[in-house]
Amino acid sequence: MNIFVLLKSTFDTEEKIEIRDNRIDDEAAELIINPYDEYAVEEAVKQRDTHGGEVTIISVGGERSEKQIRTALAMGADKGVLINIQDDLEEPDQFTTVRLLQAFFEDKEVDLILAGNVAIDNASGQVGPRLADKLNLTCITTITSLTIDGGVASIERDVEGDTEIIETHLPLLATCQQGLNEPRYPSLPGIMKAKKKPVDELELDDLDLEEEDVAPKTKTIEVFLPPERKAGKLLEGEVTEQVQELVSLLKHEAKII
């Protein structure tokens, strides 16, 4: 099976967000594999171990993303591809990523593409479904179980807390939800092997794309941190007085009723 995993480098969940010149400054931040993409990597490795074939990790990002690709290789993936847009594109959006991936997949034989359900940074959840559309692939989102047997995929997906059971055919693009599996830690032998696995680096030219082909369709107007939470207010007096005051505050101060 030819399995591909779409992988994004994101901020470590412990990192603090800092804004500089209307952009999130990521220079000093520790990066990790987007946690939902980790489920995708784990699933890809497991499917490959059952059915044979090859797992390719593909990531759109900058130089630093190579480390996350290596981590996925240490988890067991076979090879990596980095589409490096660091020097060419200032503010890529989901359109950019999908367009790049579409170009990449043009000449690829695909059985299964796995992606995270959502990235924990921008949280658009768009890249997987939009890419499936462009590639004319079946797309199933938020899967929590995947069994493949002779080209037929039996899938469970999370639907707002309920479970939907689906049967479909490969090729397929699926996005992975928490609960699908328990991603492994990259073992030390895995880390040493990953060192020798190939990671190809592609740029716009290599995909026969010009900057204007992938120019973002959205524009970021402003980036700001959520306002600091203000201290709460404690109402005093009899219950009826408190209720009256609360209603009055909601009407006149908060202006929400």
Binding site: K16, K67, Y185, P186, L188, I191, A194
Partner: protein, 594 residues
């Protein structure tokens, strides 16, 4: 992995030689694989160990055994075991990073450390082919767990005074061991013990003793102040039957194994101290940011910032010194041929080379850990005294570090002792340098220090070495062979030597980082270096002065003190301001960073 250094540096030579930044390995030299290994360890500790800490602290050791097996599957137990015996045979930086990241697990890090370090390494370094083939593959995977049994009720620091006996049976097939080994880590569940016993009353010898051998048992679990997640019991040997092929190394040469394994154990404790200190800083600064008094987060009070600044600067200096030492080992051991690696004597020599560095990093690394744990509790105030807070456990766990693997007092005495021995053997031209210094001091005119970054620190490191030589030379002259009885002076000299190593390590590391990339990224490293070098220099001055005063009287005393003043004259650094700057970065990052 890692960059190789340009030349082999002799152990202890730093006290008289000037080194360049390229002579040392620094954390900035770590490779991507090193970082990934560290990350896997950290994720394993956070994901698997911490959720069961309460069970471990409660002595439910089946969890410990299970965790060790899981760690074995990930390769976390096999780093120091050669590939041909089922291990990974990776470099010393990799195994050190694992040790550093395990520190956060508290008592369980002791379990892990005892297994991979003092438990397994005696066989790695000194086992014969058959012993390596039999035991190492099982130790590397965690199928069997190892322990180290040296201490006895009557012999702690005086390890060679062990009373456990070993007598060859009449058939000549087994040694019969009798005695008690006390406070043995992992003893509740270890399968293999490295045991030391006297053959014929005076041939101190190491044995590989399996738990299942007849006559081997353990006493009840000890009730300890800290590291409760680890098992500590007495190992009882009652006519224990040990096959004669389980003699480890040469008969009567057990001390070679014991002392060298302790050396390795020591630098590993120092590495653990760094990991613990980093966690302590993180807990302290997070709490200080969140805790408000007088409607203000307490991290905005400058006295709290002073604590954070000191903790971080000291951590930087220790981290620099410890990984420099790891680098020395890596280079020395990495240069041994396959053949030499099979020869216990060669291996022992390689380890013994850096005995001084091992002792001093152990002393300072464990005292750093203790200091940070103490200050972290202090910053937590009353909450730090409550068991719901991690710092409470950290405080109790850290206390033993200054005691085991040779108390810090014994290690302090070892440092000047080893230096003097090397000087006497002609391996280090210490006495010649001390004499040359005395002449130099007669006409010394204090240098003008250039007003460039780190110039002052270079000058202070250079002079600190001279002050050390001056004090040591004087004490040696005055007391001669009786110097070994002047333990207060020896401890002073040990502190001077150690401080020199730490300040120089911080300085060289920062210089190396600047040479690689001269940018504002290195600002914090520069601040750490400036603060640590200044404060260490002040301490060195005090130690030297006390030593000189105890060694001389009258006019000679006055003359010597005034000679020393030529060396101590400098434009002092405003450490209060610099620590506030450091604290600002730490408060923002909410953790130690460089």
């Amino acid at each position: 992995m890692g960059e190789t250094m340009e030349r082999i540096v002799k152990g202890g030579a730093f006290i008289i030689e000037d080194l360049t930044p390229n002579d040392i390995i620094t954390p900035e030299d770590f490779t991507e694989e090193h970082e990934m290994i560290a990350k896997t360890t950290e994720d394993f500790v956070i994901g698997e160990v911490l959720p069961v800490v309460d069970k471990l602290e409660n002595h439910e050791f089946e969890y410990a055994v299970n965790l060790l097996k899981q760690a074995g599957e990930l390769g976390l137990l096999g780093v120091d075991v050669p590939e041909e015996y089922g291990g990974l045979g990776l470099d010393k930086i990799s195994s050190s990073l694992i040790t550093e990241k395990f520190a956060r697990a508290g008592g369980f890090s002791v379990t892990h450390g005892a297994h991979v370090g003092i438990g397994s390494l005696p066989i790695v370094f000194f086992g014969n082919e058959a012993q390596k083939e039999k035991y190492l593959p099982l130790l590397a995977t965690g199928e069997k767990i190892a322990a180290y049994a040296l201490t006895e009720p009557g012999s702690g620091s005086d390890a060679l005074g062990a009373k456990t006996t070993a007598v060859l049976n009449d058939e000549g097939t087994h040694y019969v061991l009798n005695g008690e080994k006390q406070w043995i880590t992992n003893s509740a569940f270890a399968d293999i013990f490295i045991v030391y016993a006297q053959i014929d009353g005076n041939k101190f010898t190491a044995f590989i003793v399996e738990r299942d051998f007849p006559g081997v048992s353990t006493g009840p679990e000890e009730k300890k102040m800290g590291i409760k997640s680890s098992s500590t019991r007495t190992v009882i040997l009652e006519d224990a039957q040990v096959p004669d092929e389980n003699v480890l190394g040469e008969i009567g040469r057990g001390h070679i194994i014991a002392f060298n394994i302790l050396n390795v154990g020591r630098y590993k404790l120092a590495v653990g101290g760094i990991g613990g200190a980093k966690r302590g800083i993180e807990l302290a600064v997070k709490y200080a940011n969140q805790r408000k008094q007088f409607q203000t987060p307490i991290s905005s009070f400058s006295l709290i910032q002073e604590k954070l600044g000191t903790m971080a600067a000291n951590t930087y200096a220790n981290e620099s010194a410890v990984y420099r030492t790891v680098g020395l080992f890596e280079q020395r051991m990495g240069n041994l041929t396959e053949e030499a690696l099979r020869n216990g004597k060669e291996v022992a020599n390689a380890i013994a080379e850096y005995q001084i560095e091992c002792s001093l990093t152990k002393v300072f690394g464990t005292e750093l850990m203790d200091f940070v744990a103490d200050e972290a509790v202090q910053i937590h105030g009353g909450y730090g005294f409550m068991q719901e807070y991690e710092v409470e456990r950290m405080y109790r766990d850290s206390r033993i570090q200054r005691i085991f693997e040779g108390t810090n007092e014994i290690n302090r005495l070892l440092i000047p002792g080893a230096l003097m021995k090397r000087a006497m053997k002609g391996e280090l031209p210490l006495l010649q340098k001390a004499q040359a210094l005395q002449e130099e001091l007669m006409m010394l005119i204090p240098e003008e220090v250039e007003d460039k970054v780190l110039e002052q620190e270079k000058y202070l490191v250079k002079n600190a070495k001279k002050i050390g030589l001056l004090a040591a030379g004087l004490a040696a002259q005055k007391f001669g062979v009786n110097l070994e009885k002047e333990q207060e002076i020896l401890a002073n000299l040990a502190d001077i030597v150690s401080e020199v190593y730490l300040m120089e390590s911080a300085l060289l590391r920062t210089q190396k980082a600047i040479e690689k990339e001269d940018s504002e990224k290195n600002n914090l490293k520069i601040l750490y270096t400036e603060v640590y070098v200044q404060e260490a220099f002040n301490r060195i001055e005090a130690h030297a002065k006390e030593t000189i005063i105890a060694s001389e009287v009258g006019d000679t005393l006055r003359m010597t003190l005034s000679a020393m003043r030529k060396l101590t004259r400098h434009d002092p650094t405003n450490v209060i301001n610099k620590k506030r700057e450091i604290a600002k970065a730490i408060i923002k990052a909410e953790k130690y960073r460089v």
